[in-house]
């Protein structure tokens, strides 16, 4: 056990191969491994899309053939006729946009307060946010239902958007806090000396400097409300108010064996989330200048 390397043959390998060639071999091995992991994780999505394009009426293929009966793009038209998907998408868009906008305000205010308050209160506030981070929203839906029904909020969108009051998830407020904290305190101080109130400092200095955070928070908040399933399931009663998440369950219960249509609806539902996520990836990871180019002209 003293020399586990000998057990695995690493030493011999190292002696045999010259260093640069070993590096090359390692790199190749790494790429193969990483690629196969990525393929494995992408497979469910590929299968989803294949399943969504099978023509309706045929039994699903029993072998690993991709399209034994042709490709049915018409499924994506059909689901809008079979189910009120258009209406549900509209509802989801409304709820998600409202939730996102409120979240941007409340999370950035809370984050700004955390970054500007002096130590004892700051620690208290950040501690609260961290504690909230550990309490999943799934822990409180039942009493929330009781609370909302006593407030007459059942079957309203207010019940769905309510978490935006504390920034949807306290992580989003914390993200603003971490980003505001990175701004040098002198910048804030000089602005205050110029007579700018806190409100102005938040709007004119803190927010513009935290644009990447704002984008990330916006995407996360929007996807949260778009994806939310348990809240609309519990709090909404009338079907014409349903969001797309509960709409999928409706579709599943309507015809449990019509896989192509259900998978097409799933694809439609995840498309905006994937697109937003891709945008975030491109903007935040690849090119910070791109972000400036995109957002700056509108903000002048």
């Amino acid at each position: 056990m003293r020399q586990p390397s000998a057990l695995f043959g690493f030493t011999t390998l190292r002696r045999l191969a010259s260093p640069p060639r070993r590096k090359q071999f390692e790199r190749l091995l790494w790429h193969c491994l990483a690629l196969s992991v990525a393929v494995l994780f992408a497979a469910p999505l590929v299968w989803l899309i294949i399943a969504s394009l099978q023509p309706i009426g045929w039994p699903p293929p029993r072998t690993l053939v991709w399209f034994p009966h042709g490709v049915a793009w018409s499924n994506y038209v059909e689901i809008f006729r079979v189910a009120p998907l258009g209406l549900q998408i509209g509802n989801s868009l409304f709820v998600s946009a409202a939730g996102m906008l409120i979240t941007l305000l409340t999370a950035s205010w809370a984050g700004f307060a955390m970054s500007q308050l002096p130590p004892p209160s700051r620690g208290w506030l950040v501690g609260l946010a961290l504690l909230l981070l550990l309490i999943p929203s799934g822990a409180v839906w039942m009493p929330r239902y009781v609370l909302f029904s006593s407030m007459g909020l059942i079957d309203t969108y207010a019940a769905l958007v309510a978490p935006a009051l504390f920034g949807t998830r306290s992580l989003l407020a914390l993200m603003y806090y971490w980003s505001f904290r990175r701004v040098s305190p002198e910048l804030y101080e000089s602005a205050s000396l110029d007579g700018a109130g806190l409100w102005t400092v938040w709007r004119r200095i803190a927010l513009p400097l935290a644009r990447p955070t704002t984008l990330a928070v916006a995407v996360l908040a929007f996807s949260h409300y778009w994806s939310d399933f348990v809240d609309p399931l519990l709090f909404l009663k009338s079907t014409q108010r349903f969001t797309i998440a509960v709409g999928l369950r409706m579709l599943q219960q309507m015809d449990a064996t019509n896989w192509p249509l259900l998978m097409a609806a799933v694809t439609v539902m995840i498309a905006p989330v994937l697109a937003l996520y891709l945008l975030l990836q491109v903007v935040l990871n690849k090119d910070m200048n791109f972000l400036r180019r995109v957002i700056h002209p509108f903000n002048k």
Binding site: P4, F10, W30, A34, A38, F41, L45, W47, A51, P60, T63, T106, W109, A110, F112, A113, S121, G123, V126, L128, A129, L130, L132, L134, I135, P136, G138, A139, V140, M142, P143, V146, L147, A162, P163, L165, F166, A173, Y177, G195, A196, G197, L198, W199, T200, W226, S227, F229, V230, A245, L248, R249, W259, M263, V266, M269, V273, L274, Q281, K286
Partner: protein
């Protein structure tokens, strides 16, 4: 408008009250929606569910006091113990698997090489998919007759279990589905791995240590706090986020094979309108999770102190 406000604020602050006090009031006002929301949507519901656990309540009539009888009633029911056992089995197998998977992927995708961002993004995909979509996709993948997984298995000549339809494999299937979501853990562990100074690795390499020993003696010990926190978080999440998959994929069956506590609570509260008993079950869940959350808080404070924020 800002000019007006500015002059108003400065004149008020310079003459009437201490400007620092005014500043604090403003800051607390900015934090007010956050605090109000936390109070209304977390603290109040938590208190309410504690109170309801001792009441008889069916939403329609006002609640009446029932004492500990809710607990006596649920403890007498077999289905409660089945659900509790299922919940523990589910959480304590899904969460460790998830952490282990996240560690493997994080170690693989940690080096900054060409294409690594794409690979990470693909792994993270599983986490951004909405729960409903994720559950429905897996319901299709695990379909015993037509699902791609069983088609692949039979093509490879391997046995094809009935997954969610068989009471012996249903819970295990849910565990697999939950454990695949390693994206967040991976990102956290990659970030954690970055905090280890390169000099540690250089020193170890000069001493002639190979990869396995470097991992065992440097990487792993330094990652332990993160792994523990991740494990606790995943345990809590596994218990609480199980409602959506159970509801969409199995409906608690076959039999009671996948009846987990959140699903049972949902049934009690919304199908049978026994909110008191549902609240008592939530009390049981909290008794499981409370210590875990406390432990996580204590560990965070101990390891990172005030830098946690």
């Amino acid at each position: 408008m800002t000019a007006l406000k500015r002059s108003g604020v400065t004149s008020a602050s310079s003459h009437l009250v201490d400007p620092r006090f005014l500043r604090h009031v403003q800051l607390w006002l900015m934090a007010a929606p956050f605090l109000f929301g936390a109070l209304l949507l977390v603290v109040l519901p938590a208190a309410l569910s504690f109170a309801l656990a001792f009441m008889r309540y069916d939403v329609l009539a006002p609640p009446t006091w029932r004492g500990v009888e809710n607990f006596v009633v649920i403890f007498r029911r077999d289905v409660f113990w089945i659900a509790l056992r299922n919940t523990l089995v589910f959480a304590f197998s899904a969460a460790p698997l998830q952490v282990f998977g996240a560690l493997l992927v994080a170690l693989l995708l940690h080096p900054e090489r060409r294409g690594v961002r794409l690979y990470r993004a693909v792994v993270y995909l599983t986490n951004i998919l909405p729960d409903v979509a994720y559950a429905l996709i897996w319901l299709w993948l695990l379909n015993p007759l037509y699902g791609p997984i069983n088609l692949t298995l039979s093509w490879l000549g391997l046995p094809t279990p009935a997954w969610l339809v068989d009471s012996r494999t249903a819970l295990a299937s849910l565990v697999i589905v939950a454990a695949v979501r390693v994206g967040e853990g991976m990102l956290l562990l990659i970030a954690a791995r970055r905090t280890v100074p390169d000099s540690y690795y250089d020193a170890a390499r000069i001493d002639g240590a190979d990869r396995l020993r470097i991992f065992w003696h440097i990487t792993l010990p330094l990652l332990v706090p993160w792994l523990l926190l991740l494990l606790i978080r995943d345990l809590v999440m596994a218990i609480h986020s199980s409602l959506t998959p159970v509801l969409l994929m199995t409906g608690g069956g076959p039999g009671y094979a996948t009846t987990l506590l959140p699903f049972l609570i949902y049934e009690e509260a919304f199908t049978h309108l026994r909110l008191g008993e549902a609240a008592a079950m939530m009390g049981v869940i909290f008794a499981l999770i409370g210590p875990l959350i406390g432990l996580a808080g204590w560990l965070t404070h101990r390891w990172w102190g005030d830098h946690a924020g």
